[in-house]
């Protein structure tokens, strides 16, 4: 039976990760990671802004169908389609301690 002198590739990768992120918790499958999974891809929006924008668009005759993403400025009410996808800010990054 051969003595296991070779470190498994997984452990090598683990050492690499710990070297890059020393404060990484030792329990990766813990509730932080799971709660991040449960909230994956959530896009936040302001329903007030959205409904105001919808109402405004209904009243205004839109002469051109603007397909380019308009720069979100102060007097343009953003709609969910305009907003870039946000990373959820309430959940800590998986790499944070």
């Amino acid at each position: 039976e051969m003595e296991d002198k070779v470190v498994s590739p997984e452990k090598v990768e683990e050492a690499k990760l710990k070297a890059r992120y020393p404060h990484l918790g030792s329990k990766p499958g813990g509730s932080d990671l799971l709660r991040k999974r449960l909230q994956k891809g959530q896009k936040y929006f302001d329903s007030g802004d959205y409904n105001m924008a919808k109402a405004k668009m209904k009243n205004k005759q839109l002469p051109t169908a603007t397909t380019e993403k308009a720069e979100v400025t102060g007097d343009h009410i953003p709609t969910p389609q305009d907003l870039p996808q946000r990373k959820p800010s309430l959940v800590a990054s998986k790499l944070a301690g």
Binding site: P9, K11, E13, E14, L17, K18, L34, L38, K43, S47
Partner: protein, 420 residues
């Protein structure tokens, strides 16, 4: 919005449905066989396209609910129409797809374009008749099953009783009756009283193909629980627990993450089930809970890349798997638009690529090989050259023929085996 998110053949294999990130369903239909053509099996052409789900907003939580179709499951055909269930994160819909190939003509009170005629101009009576028209395929929503899931729906599965189906999210599994939309029974609930104690989530669930009381659900910790609905109304206690023992000395930071099961599928004969975790496909005998009977490595060379795969989130990719009609071959996807097939009987496996560059129509696919390290042979691809953005997460196998559907990010490939 064109990103394909699910692929599913219907029970006869004549229809193939795809769902995408934009909430659309596209159904392809196989053309009838043309004996004079070289390839004896018909091609698949677009049959119907419809918008299944729209983006919605949860005003209470200020969240957008994605319209992406997570899963499509066909109902067995009972009459001329076809039915399928499609689901996004929160709502399941039953769609009826029906054909119309004739229309009534010769009304007395209406013109052909629908305008009403002046009754005083009607001097004779005629009987309207049905005349043939160009085939029109219509999709209409027949049921909407909403508001039963707090978390994101990952699976739906039609029961073999053809009356009920289950839907599963991260923490709960619900049982529905296809006719009833205002009520759903919760049959599994793994939500802990204190969310801080959450250790695992449900990743997939499926009904047994012929035992209508049996279903399984898989978890992020690599376990599969088989439940019998006859035992109790709430199946929190499993009948069987399938888990492969782990060597504690091999445990690493990544162990639990790569053991998370991304898909579970019963074999057609109902004796086995297959699970897909990050690096492998496992076949389980339903009579043996202690370990799988077969394990196939999908891309073992990625084990030495786990650090970067964790950093770019690829380690969380959810690959699906599927059986062929006779349960002799299993298939799953990988990166670089590669997909893998494992022949259980002949103990052979092959890696193929779904890409426009590597395959012309009617050409035979060339097997691919990944070089894990050391000297790269000609035609081999080194691990570092793999494109991790080109992932094949969704594949489907025709229920009877050797025809497969493989979805890359934006394209659907349909392959069939070479006929003499």
């Amino acid at each position: 919005a064109d990103i394909i998110s699910t692929v599913e053949f219907n029970h006869s294999g004549e229809l193939l449905a795809t769902g995408d990130k934009g909430g659309r369903v596209v159904i392809f239909q196989q053309e009838p066989e043309n004996k004079s053509q070289l390839q004896c099996r018909g091609e698949y052409n677009v049959y119907s396209t419809f918008q299944s789900h729209e983006p919605e907003f949860d005003y209470l939580k200020s969240l957008e609910i994605e319209e992406k179709i997570n899963k499509i499951r066909w109902l067995p055909q009972k009459n001329a129409a076809q039915f399928l269930l499609s689901t996004n994160d929160k709502t399941i819909k039953l769609w009826k797809i029906s054909e119309r190939d004739k229309r009534p003509e010769g009304y007395n009170l209406k013109e052909e374009d629908g305008r009403y005629r002046d009754p005083s101009t009607v001097t004779t009576l005629r009987v309207p008749v049905f005349r043939p028209m160009d085939l029109m395929v219509e999709a209409s929503p027949r049921r909407v099953f909403a508001n039963a899931h707090t978390y994101h729906i990952n699976s739906i599965s039609v029961n073999s009783d053809y009356e009920t189906y289950l839907s599963a999210d991260d923490l709960r599994v619900n049982l529905w009756h296809l006719e009833i939309t205002d009520r759903s029974f919760n049959i599994v609930d793994i939500k802990p009283a204190n969310m801080e104690e959450l250790t695992e989530v449900i990743t997939a669930a499926e009904f047994h193909p012929n035992q209508c009381n049996t279903f399984v659900y898989s978890s992020s910790k690599g376990t599969i629980r088989l439940c019998d609905m006859r035992e109790s109304a709430l199946c929190d206690k499993h009948s069987k627990l399938f888990e492969e023992p782990e060597d504690p000395s091999n445990r690493s930071f990544f162990s639990e993450i790569i053991s998370s099961i991304s898909d579970v599928k019963f074999s057609h004969n109902g004796r086995y089930m297959m699970t897909r975790d990050y690096l492998s496909v496992k076949i389980w005998d339903l009579n043996m809970e202690s370990r799988p009977v077969e394990t196939y490595q999908v891309h073992e060379y990625l084990r030495s890349k786990l650090c970067s795969l964790y950093e770019n989130d690829c380690i969380f990719d959810k690959f699906e798997c599927c059986w062929n009609g006779s349960d002799s071959v299993v298939m799953t996807g990988s990166y670089n638009n590669f997909f893998r097939m494992f022949d259980r009987g002949q103990k052979k496996d092959v890696t193929l690529e779904a890409s426009r560059e590597s395959s012309k129509p009617r050409a035979v696919l060339k097997p691919r090989k990944v070089c894990a390290g050391g000297k790269r042979k000609k035609d081999e691809i080194s691990v570092d050259s793999l494109d991790f953005n080109k992932k094949i997460l969704h594949t489907a196998w025709h229920p009877q023929e050797n025809i497969i559907a493989v979805a890359t990010t934006n394209n659907l490939y349909i392959f069939q085996d070479k006929l003499n």
